[in-house]
């Protein structure tokens, strides 16, 4: 795929030859003002080069990244530091379990200044190398030219999984992998003739299991660990706007229920506890062993005037995958607190020990709540970690665990309050979480120019084996 950049690479290489080297360098105690902020982060040993730019306007940048006895450098005109992919991989190989020390020297006018060096910790825990996300404008009310993309985070290659051209410019919901099986996944195409496009190792099927008692097609859905069941919510969603411009959008459900779809038996399984007309059940997900379902629930009904008094609690119900039956009672794991806490998007770690969720002041759509933060509950002790090192003053939500449970990815609006971007955080075996880092891009100014949100990032161990053409064929009934 690099051939498309060939003319640029040749041009840049020619320009590169004229970059002056650092001379008469003065030093400062301050860290450089770099974007993305990679100072003090922990990264996996299979991550792409952490290219960055300096927010200061400068004429040239000289950067070294070193670990015990091995050093690579980026020396360029302008304000960008870009590392060679092969050199970077060699550096990561040598730095596993250690730190990389990054030293930044910049040319302002005729003066070179060396900033305080910073460390990047390289974890030996690998991360699932494939990240899928939907690229969409942050104003969800209207859309055009949507795209679902799979990015290899070990390098910069990306592949389009579904394109607006393949589905007649219709709305598509995000792509979700099954836990532990990167090539079992689904996405949902909305509108007439749409449905859930199930990818079973390259074989695509269009599923439409909506029944008259459901208020909509599947909205939030997750596989069970065996890949036999899909738990999903159906939601009557109302998009609304706050009149205060800093709050922007509010989205709420007026009805929602949870069902389980058995892919083998083509049957929808129901529990009255998950489809109570007086309550709003949503955001379902299976436990790591598949024997219970976690979900969020609030008392209904909802009217716009009382939206700020709606608080979802995190609950659990038993599920027997052999019989396809549900438990007769539910447990409350994290209670929604009026004015303080509404829970959404629970995700259980693959070892079943921890559960990551989002909390916001109220409601069910944390992506536009600036106060929305991630929290993690230890399911064995009930202890809640507020993840201070992970969260930001802007929305942090839509998280997904890696297959090993040592990493999670989430969408954060911390940079500008508008556009969600994928950040990754490391979780040590004892549950200690490190400072997150932003998905690196080949061009560090990519995010500055980009006007799309990376919506619902989802990790996969292997590339999924379908293309927009396959989706188009499935939608047309040709598969």
């Amino acid at each position: 795929m690099y051939f498309k950049y060939l003319p640029l690479i040749i041009l840049l290489t020619l320009l590169e030859a004229c970059v002056p080297g650092p001379e008469d360098v003065s030093e400062t105690d301050a860290f450089p003002d770099i974007y993305p902020d990679y100072i003090g982060v922990t990264v996996p040993c299979n991550i792409a080069p952490l290219n960055f730019l300096l927010r200061d306007s400068c004429e040239a940048v000289y950067v070294t990244a070193a670990t015990e006895g091995f050093e690579i450098k980026s020396h360029k005109k302008g304000n960008e530091a870009i590392f060679d992919l092969t050199e970077w991989k060699n550096l990561l190989d040598k730095a596993q379990g250690k730190n990389i020390t990054v030293s930044v020297t910049v040319l302002h006018g005729d003066d070179w200044t060396k900033y305080k060096s910073f460390d990047i910790a390289v974890s030996g825990d690998m991360i699932d190398p494939y990240l899928t996300y939907r690229l969409i404008e942050p104003d969800y009310e209207v859309f055009s030219r949507l795209r679902i993309v799979e990015r290899n985070i070990s390098d910069f290659s990306e592949r389009i999984l579904c394109d607006y051209n393949a589905v007649g410019n219709r709305c598509m919901n995000c792509h979700t992998h099954a836990p532990g099986d990167g090539d079992l996944s689904f996405l949902y195409v909305r509108g007439e003739g749409g449905g859930m496009v199930l990818n079973d190792h390259g074989n695509l099927r269009l599923l439409d299991f909506k029944t008259p008692d459901m208020v909509s097609g599947p909205v939030y859905a997750q596989f069970d660990p065996s890949g036999q069941f899909l738990v999903f919510s159906t939601n009557a969603i109302i998009p609304a706007f706050h009149s205060r411009p800093d709050k922007r959008l509010e989205v709420f459900d007026t009805k929602s229920d949870i069902f389980v779809y058995d892919l083998q038996r083509d049957a929808v399984l129901r529990s009255p506890l998950l489809a109570d007309s007086s309550r709003l059940e949503t955001f379902p997900t299976f436990s790591a062993d598949g024997n219970s379902i976690y979900y969020c629930v609030a008392d209904g009904p909802i009217r716009p005037s009382v939206i700020d008094s709606i608080h979802y609690s995190l609950c659990r119900i038993a599920f027997d995958p052999r019989q396809g039956t549900f438990g007769q009672s539910t447990d409350t794991i994290v209670k929604g607190l009026p004015g303080k806490r509404s829970v959404s998007h629970p995700r259980v770690s693959p070892d079943g020990r921890r559960l990551l969720y989002t909390v916001s002041d109220f409601g069910t759509f944390p992506i536009w709540h600036r106060e929305a933060d991630l929290q993690m509950v230890d399911l064995t002790t009930g202890e809640i970690d507020s993840l201070m090192i992970v969260n930001s003053p802007m929305s942090d939500t839509y998280h997904c665990w890696s297959a090993t449970g040592r990493w999670f990815v989430f969408a954060s609006k911390r940079d500008d309050g508008l556009y969600g971007k994928p950040y990754f955080a490391h979780v040590s075996p004892d549950g200690k979480v490190s400072k997150p880092f932003l998905l690196p891009q080949k061009s560090p100014s990519f995010y500055d120019d980009n006007l799309k949100s990376f919506n619902v990032p989802d990790l996969g161990a292997v590339p999924v084996s379908f293309s927009p053409r396959d989706v188009a064929a499935t939608m047309a009934g040709k598969n």
Binding site: K4, Y5, D139, E141, A166, I238, P245, D416, D449, P468
Partner: protein, 525 residues
């Protein structure tokens, strides 16, 4: 030495180009500006690299890069004229090798007319012309190689595939030229088997390359074949030009010109009326001018969605921005961006920066200002609007808008403008633009009870009655329909000629002599 015939033809062509450029610069400048505003071009390697994600990278890159200079209407006129002239020259060279003299001249003239007709449609962009020119140029080059000094080298596949890669549907034009040259030689019996193969190869590759690459480019075959899109010929659309010119004058904050253009419009419509009223409101004269324009369109009864025409979305963005409702101004700006080519519209990116500056959302504003800083035409604008670097006039404008904006929080389920106006007035009852829009909407709907209630709430109870002739006339209608005591009249009505006129009108209801009054509008329209 040129022959006299060639000098005459060159002179005619040159004169034609000058006339065409003058036409674009004087009669069609807003169409050109529309093209420029409806896209963005960033001067960054990363942005340039994005053009390789689709076919026709060279045609689109060159076209979009030059379109940013449409910001200056004269430059835009010259660029578009030269693009059409270049296409025509390439076509003329090709067609002269195929057809005898007079036929080739006629075809060339028809081709030029076709290209000019395509430029009359606001949807035709400069990349279209560059793809046509590229396809023609590569077709000619192939002919030169195949029948020139390098005739042993058959590079037809390379030319056609390169034409698709660089110029999209231009490959079809290249293949057409190559086939036409071959047929010409068949007719003259100059052909060898190899040339048959070249022509066949050109046709197959021009049709087959898009099919082969459609997966890579994520395009369905029909789109891939004609990428970036075939323009449609059209007649000059002066009505649309008129509409765009009014919106442009408003955008330049020349409210006198906006009103004058709206009044002079040969085809007054919802958009000209809207900008007439909005300009009036910004000059504190909406009630004075409400009855002076024959079409009544304040925009307060308009809602927008995915099927709304693009100028209407622009219009609503302007309305909410001027009223002070940054939530809905941002919504309209986002919507307009989403429906622009490559989902970007430079006017709306400027507007998003302004909206966030007014809202005090500096991080979001900086996001848009950074993008604008990387453009040719808006870099200076970006610097002028960067917090900490603003000149006093920009800072004052932002501060003024901040005082008008909404500070109450409510949940809105739709774009019901009445609710929005009420919220704005609850936040700041001195927001006269919102007040006039509220009261004038009531009056256009002839809803006198609501008008009286709104007037009482935001004028009388706030201690700032608004003594505009229109409101006085409307209040007289309301008061005359009730049994209120004289003191009530004194509370609302200032004695004077309007009261006398009302008394006269009461005896001559519907008399056209009173057609400038609200009483006449209320009774007759």
């Amino acid at each position: 030495m040129l022959k006299p015939k060639d000098i005459i033809i060159s002179g005619i062509c040159l004169a034609g180009c000058v006339i065409l450029a003058a036409f674009y610069a004087t009669a069609y400048p807003s169409h050109l500006l529309w093209q420029e505003q409806n896209q963005i071009f960033l001067n960054t390697p990363h942005w340039v690299a994005t053009y390789f994600d689709k076919p026709a990278w060279l045609g689109c890159l060159a076209g979009d890069w030059l379109t940013q200079y449409y910001h200056n209407p004269v430059a835009g006129a010259v660029i578009l004229t030269l693009a059409i002239a270049f296409c025509t020259v390439c076509f003329a060279i090709g067609v002269r090798r195929i057809l005898p003299g007079i036929s080739s001249y006629i075809l060339t003239v028809l081709f030029a007319i076709l290209l000019i007709a395509c430029s009359m449609d606001a949807a035709t962009t400069l990349p279209f012309y560059f793809c046509v020119a590229g396809g023609l140029a590569l077709g000619l080059l192939q002919h030169r190689v195949s029948f020139g000094k390098c005739r042993r080298l058959d590079l037809t596949p390379v030319f056609v595939v390169a034409a698709y890669w660089a110029f999209g549907f231009g490959a079809l034009i290249s293949a057409f030229l190559i086939t036409a040259f071959t047929i010409k030689r068949i007719l003259r019996k100059y052909m060898s088997d190899r040339h048959w193969f070249s022509a066949l190869c050109a046709v197959i590759l021009a049709a087959g390359t898009p099919a082969f690459l459609s997966g890579y480019y994520a395009l369905p075959y029909s789109k891939a074949l004609f990428y970036p899109g075939i323009a449609k010929p059209a007649l000059p659309n002066y009505e649309y030009e008129e509409r765009l010119a009014i919106a442009d004058a408003f955008h330049d904050k020349d409210y006198d010109l906006t009103r004058q253009l709206a009044l002079d419009a040969e085809s007054p419509n919802e958009i000209s009326a809207f900008y007439y009223y909005l300009s009036s409101a910004l000059q504190d004269s909406l009630p004075d001018n409400l009855l002076k324009y024959k079409i009544k369109s304040l925009g307060t009864l308009t809602t927008i969605g995915e099927t709304s025409p693009l100028p209407v979305i622009n219009m609503m963005n302007d309305l909410y921005f001027e009223l002070g409702d940054m939530t809905y101004a941002e919504r309209a700006a986002m919507m307009r961006n989403v429906f622009s080519p490559r989902n970007r519209n430079v006017r709306m990116i400027c507007r998003l920066a302004e909206i966030n500056l007014v809202s005090g959302d500096t991080l979001a504003a900086l996001k848009y200002l950074r993008i604008l800083d990387r453009t040719h035409a808006y870099s200076a604008w970006s610097k002028k609007h960067t917090p900490g670097q603003m000149p006093p006039d920009v800072e004052a404008d932002i501060s003024r808008r901040r005082t008008l904006s909404n500070n109450k929080d409510n949940i809105r389920l739709g774009d019901n403008c009445r609710n929005i106006l009420l919220e704005l007035l609850e936040s700041n009852h001195k927001n006269l633009i919102a007040l006039d829009y509220l009261l004038c909407t009531d009056l256009l709907l002839k809803d006198m009870d609501t008008f009286k209630m709104d007037y009482d709430t935001y004028c009388i109870q706030k201690g700032s009655p608004r003594y505009k002739k229109l409101y006085q006339e409307a209040l007289m209608i309301y008061l005359a329909g009730t049994d209120v005591p004289e003191s009530e009249w004194d509370r609302y009505i200032i004695p004077g000629p309007t009261v006398d006129a009302f008394n006269r009108y009461s005896n001559r209801r519907g008399d056209p002599a009173f057609k400038d009054t609200y009483w006449y509008y209320f009774d007759k329209q």
